[in-house]
Subunit: 475 residues, 2 copies
């Protein structure tokens, strides 16, 4: 599909022509500085980098429009860049491509307190949005790891630890401003809580990884800050018992705010890194409850019963804000805890999801796969959604990377065989391309390719990502 | 866009050729009987009917595939038909078209209790699904009026009284089986609670009103039957106070199961029709609360305080199952209550939605419009979503219908001016075509038209519905 990929020199020349033309309009919003280009050559985790020909720092939708119009005309590939926190190679520029940085589009445009919604530019990060909202009594719940931008979160259909209660970004986006391949600016969706008029373009662009258009503004649902929060930890001798506890919480419909699983390996690292010395290196569930005091009390009582029935080793409470923060900081630092134990090594964070009834079978199988691989790997996950990550530690060598990929392939194969998906929240990018046909089937992929060809006929928008090559539905 | 519309004779001949060819495969699943065709010539409400050339009663996805393959080849338009409950002309066949009836595809294919999901054929109605689920402890919450099919509900992006708590059909569909225009059968989505792999085809087909493909199977989220239900009614002298109560409930984040508004006109009709003689013909809110006993108690206490602070005239409780059923039956029979008071008259149920902060302004304006129109019209709505219907009563004449349309246009214009949508849950069909450009803008519509042209290049799938004619995005 990438007509420019085999022509790196010509492509680069075309990109330079576009940058020159753009300089007239955008002036010093354009950089070809080597260190700037280097910072835009890759995201996190995946060891795939490629230098962009230049970087455009857009400040408005019109800047994005001007850039795409020229890229479209001159067949220059362009990839959007927010905070660069994606882990599957989404933001790596194609040969001869331009990186379109949206981080300067960082304004909260409006907050409608009465309607529990807001509008932000794509470069606003979730942390800065929540800082902005602090005094309103509202918050935005979707929390992928890292200081991701809302535009990037939309593009990869991100979620995080709070999806079990509040849904993913998909359920929390009401509308978008999108710049199409030819530079045209459109609005999708709106501010209403539901609508049944027209094709759901918002959902089409959410998760499209910059391959169908560039998202420049996002209308978001907000939520009331809960009256009370409470956290707890429960440890288990057996993995199955921990997983079953989480599964039963969901099946009983308890509106739990968060339920996260750390396996024995991950917990061991967290104890050392975050001084959780009162705990043992066992499979552990971290819980968060939210709501009115009465509701929280009730959720806790039921959860505690379920955990103890599953041979949980007692509930440890974190009632004070400080203690709650300490526990959840330890959870959020899980990746860094592994990193600190393995200086100089590469960490690969995989991602898969299954229907929750299959989670015990999957994680048990993955533990076997890890053992057989001889690699050090930890499991942590958004267990209430059936979603989990395996953090694999390898040497910083090609061979080490290949060993990690081999293990990841086994994990994904297990997930797909159990009716799952190869990514719950990280997206496809380059890293998951090989699994798409097995997951979706060629029929659905041929439709996706037809949509791509329709909205981006010259294949300039993040070419080579999300969709493996293959037949295009033609009716 | 409709190449066949101007050629009714040729189109009919082509449709007959397709039906003859199909008879070899499908035998007596095909009918050209006049009364069968008449029953498939229209939906509800909209006085637009057209006879199909014939009706195919599909029993499998393969039957649908065989039909579309031939229709595609011979350029014969085809419209899916479920229960025929749509109110905007969706199921009215185009000239020379075939009606593809899915009501025999009425099997629940699987229920996964542990994962809270199920798979149904498109012709299963929501009532029959819930009857099937009764002993499982689970239920499916989306409840448009009428005995609609799940396929039809997906096609129109339906919702109902429970959307305020459980979301619309869109939030409750995990995946689909879809037959494309050329007869190819694809799967979209899956069984996992979230995924970030590939374009969201499920959301693209949901709400596409049979114009992009025919939905034959649906994977649905289910929910646990709540431990306790409680209902209440509160009346208000002033409309504003009632609306403000509902708005404040949402803003406070109370997880109310239902909150429905009936204006004084509607309430007057309901009192007579459903013997609610203990109430007065005043603006009224119907509430339903669900959850654990403690949670329900707490929701009720807060709601009652809000209602009384807004000068509500006291809370009437329906604690017994019988009394609850009586109240909600009266609400569900609101349309029939108006009908019974106006024998021989036409009833038009309109539909619009605004951000909830705009609801008081909108409904007040609409009450003015009704008064000025001289028509009898009642307002009832899913007030927690900002969504409401005006039931307009007119003569069964063209002039009467035009008067109703004139009033509806005023209502929609008000809704759009307040940042709303011309349909919260009924869909576009033929009835709302004229408002799409004002709501979405030509840019978004040109993208929708491009998607339509890509997935249905010969425009055989429910042509003329959902999308007004205009420019097609071409990059």
């Amino acid at each position: 599909m990438s007509e420019t990929a085999s022509l790196p020199l010509h492509a680069t020349a075309r990109a330079n022509a576009v940058l020159s033309a753009l300089r007239v309009q955008l002036g010093d919003k354009i950089s070809t500085n080597a260190s700037v280009c280097d910072a835009h050559s890759h995201g996190e985790a995946l060891p795939v980098a490629n230098m962009p020909v230049g970087v455009v720092f857009a400040e408005t939708s019109e800047d994005v429009s001007a850039t795409l119009r020229l890229c479209h005309e001159h067949r220059v590939p362009v990839v959007a860049f927010g905070a660069g926190t994606s882990v599957e190679g989404h933001v790596t520029p194609p040969d001869g491509g331009i990186s379109l940085d949206l981080s300067r589009m960082a304004r909260v445009l409006e907050v409608n307190q009465a309607d529990l919604d807001c509008r932000v530019q794509a470069g606003v990060t979730r942390q800065s949005l929540n800082a902005f909202l602090r005094d309103t009594g509202l918050f935005f719940p979707v929390d992928p790891g890292g200081e991701a931008t809302l535009g990037g979160m939309c593009a990869t259909r991100a979620s995080g630890t709070a999806a079990v209660k509040y849904g993913t970004i998909k359920e929390n986006v009401l509308g978008l401003t999108v710049v199409l391949a030819n530079g045209e600016i459109i609005q999708t969706g709106g501010r209403v809580r539901k609508s049944s008029t027209g094709y759901d373009l918002t959902s089409l662009f959410v998760g499209s990884e910059g391959t169908l258009g560039i998202i420049t503004e996002v209308q978001l649902r907000l939520h009331g800050q809960p009256e009370q929060l409470s956290a707890a930890v429960c440890q288990f001798e057996n993995l199955d018992d921990a997983v079953n506890t989480a599964v039963e919480i969901i099946q009983m419909g308890i509106p739990i705010a968060r339920v996260e699983l750390l396996d024995d390996v991950q917990m061991d690292a967290c104890i050392r890194y975050s001084d959780l010395n009162e705990y043992r290196a066992l499979t552990t569930l971290f819980f968060e409850f939210s709501g009115s005091p009465e509701a929280v009390k009730e959720q806790i009582a039921v959860t505690e019963t379920l955990a103890l029935d599953n041979i949980g080793l007692g509930f440890a409470w974190a009632d004070s804000a400080d203690e709650r923060a300490r526990l959840w900081k330890a959870r959020h630092n899980a990746f860094w805890a592994i990193k600190a134990q393995h200086p100089g090594m590469r960490l690969i964070s995989t991602d898969c999801i299954v229907p929750i009834s299959q989670l015990t079978a999957l994680i048990s199988g993955v533990k076997d796969d890890i053992q057989k691989s001889g690699l050090y790997a930890a499991i942590l996950g958004h267990v209430g959604d059936g979603n989990f990550h395996t953090i694999i530690v390898t040497e910083e060598t090609d061979q080490g990377y290949q060993q990690a990929l081999d293990l990841d392939r086994k994990i994904v194969a297990r997930a797909l065989a159990l009716g799952g998906s190869c990514s719950g929240e990280h997206g496809v990018g380059l890293g998951k391309l090989e699994f798409l046909a097995a997951e979706h089937g060629e029929g659905a992929l041929s439709v996706m390719r037809a949509l791509k060809a329709t909205l981006d006929p010259h294949n300039i928008l993040n070419p080579g990502k999300l969709l493996p090559e293959g037949p295009v539905y033609a009716g």
